[in-house]
């Protein structure tokens, strides 16, 4: 690996060459997914712990399957039902788990920066599976991988992201990843869900912002709908769900603005009828389930490159 070292905390930890190598490995892992025996011995004897302090279905199960198919021993610890609910601090929980001799911690936490903090406490490799509203690098990598398989190179392609940007770590990681790969990115949200300071960031990182979905969609080469994160909202971001859908949802009418081959992504879980209509989610051009299967392949590639070789965490 060119730039990727011990941890994957942010898309900033990987170079363009690293991404290419991860994608090449993921493509091979994708083939393994179709085999009868889905098992490779590369991480035999390694232990991967999924430490999830927030709810997750696909990320956690996808990391678990990825670890198991590479022959690592994978276990899950969730915030609910762990000692943190008895009042143990994050540091004590993490150090306790690390003392059992784990090689990697896949971690999700509601606090931005939690994965970085933990990486400074333990010897194990830390993979950020979502920290607050900060980053979710494995999701961005699998999104880019899915789009690259559909579109070929992402260089110069126009990717439109629509939704709740303020609360979205997927948005942050995806902007970093897609612009790194040369894509032209436009992000669209209602003013109340556009993060403060986005103007400066978009100038620095070279992406565009808009409040008008209908103006942007006709030039899109790919669309990513982001989830409206009700659990992170204390209310008041938009008057009603209906109004959000009318202004920013990928409705049947807006689907008609897209070319027939423009892939539609959603990181899941979807609020059907809110940010995405069933017609769009189930359209032939929807790649939402491809994203899920790519998720396992890309996470296998990440675990392999972080854990298989010499000098990797022990």
């Amino acid at each position: 690996m060119d730039q990727l070292r011990k941890h994957l905390l942010s898309i900033d930890d990987v170079s363009v060459d690293d991404i290419a190598e991860i994608f090449a490995t993921a493509a091979e892992m994708h083939d393994v997914q179709r085999r009868e025996v889905k098992k490779l011995p590369a991480l035999r004897g390694r232990t991967v712990i999924n430490l999830f302090f927030e709810d997750s279905t696909r990320t956690r199960s996808s990391f678990e399957i990825a670890g198991k198919w590479l022959s690592a021993d994978t276990i899950n610890i969730t915030g609910k039902g762990s000692s943190t609910s008895k009042g143990e601090s994050l540091r004590d929980t993490v150090l306790t788990i690390a003392s059992m001799g784990v090689d990697a911690l896949v971690m999700r936490h509601s606090a931005s920066g939690a994965a970085l903090q933990v990486s400074q406490w333990v010897d194990a490799a830390v993979i950020n599976a979502g920290d607050g509203t900060h980053e979710h690098p494995s999701q961005a990598l699998l999104d880019a991988y899915t789009l690259q398989r559909r579109l070929g190179s992402l260089e110069g392609r126009h990717v439109v992201m629509v939704g709740d940007l303020t609360h979205s770590r997927v948005f942050r990681s995806n902007v970093l990843c897609l612009t790194k790969l040369g894509a032209r990115v436009t992000v669209v949200a209602p003013p109340t869900l556009m993060p403060s300071g986005v103007a400066e960031w978009s100038r620095a990182a070279g992406f565009e912002t808009s409040y008008d979905v209908d103006a942007v969609l006709p030039t899109a080469d790919a669309v990513m709908m982001l989830r409206v994160q009700k659990e992170r909202m204390s209310g008041g971001f938009f008057p009603s769900p209906r109004e959000y859908t009318v202004g920013y949802g990928l409705t049947r009418d807006r689907l008609a603005l897209l070319g027939p081959d423009v892939p539609i992504c959603h990181p899941g879980p979807m609020n059907r009828g809110l940010e995405i209509a069933a017609d769009a989610a189930d359209a032939a051009q929807s790649v939402i389930l491809d994203q899920v299967s790519a998720g396992v392949a890309v996470r296998m590639a990440i675990l392999y490159h972080l854990l298989a070789g010499e000098g990797s965490a022990a």
Partner: protein, 194 residues
């Protein structure tokens, strides 16, 4: 994948390369003759091309397997399925080197169950690559018979493994390096020892 002494880092073995140092032990015509003989041996041993599958071990085993298949087609008029079998994740020295990305594995559509699989590689050395290939095959299917064809056998086995078909037996010292270059992947073609 050329077998390297287990303790030395494996070099990048794909992409174009300049002519290696040392003495030429096989030139392009020698390689052509060796592959023709191996192709005939495979057919003789198998009593024809029925149920044969050729699996090349990346990177240089794959073009060698294709060349053998071309020769078999010319002799028998039968298209033998050719695939590639990557062994990166099955190596026993995976933890001794920085992780390298796997190369392409492609199993022919008919699979390998009940077939006679001929593994094809460029250099047979420690035998560890072949051991890894046998493990890798175990996860893919169950061939009736597995045979091994190599362009060069340089000796110094670490494991009880032997080739069925050998292009050239090349006595070598452990300190020597054997380099294979093939026109499909490299600028030059031949086998060098230095």
């Amino acid at each position: 994948m050329s077998e390297q002494p287990p303790s030395s880092p494996a070099p990048q073995s794909d992409g174009p390369a300049d002519e290696p140092e040392g003495r030429v032990v096989l030139d392009d015509r020698d390689i052509a003759r060796a592959l023709t003989r191996i192709s005939h041996e495979i057919l003789e041993r198998n009593k024809g091309a029925a149920d044969l599958v050729l699996l090349g071990i990346p990177s240089r085993g794959v073009p060698l397997a294709r060349r053998v298949a071309e020769r078999i087609a010319a002799v028998e008029g039968v298209e033998v399925p050719v695939g590639s079998l990557d062994i990166t994740m099955y190596r026993d020295d995976l933890r001794k080197h920085p992780a390298r990305g796997p190369q392409h594995t492609e199993i022919p559509a008919g699979g390998i169950d009940g077939r006679t699989v001929v593994l094809v590689d460029d250099v047979l050395y420690s035998g560890r690559t072949v051991r890894a290939a046998l493990d890798a095959m175990n996860d893919i299917g169950r061939p009736d018979v597995v045979r091994l064809a190599v362009l060069v056998d340089r000796g110094h086995r670490d494991l009880p493994i032997r080739a069925d078909h050998v292009g050239k037996n090349l006595p070598s010292a452990r300190t020597e390096r054997v380099a294979v270059r093939l026109a499909e992947l490299d600028d030059v073609e031949g086998v060098w020892i230095s």
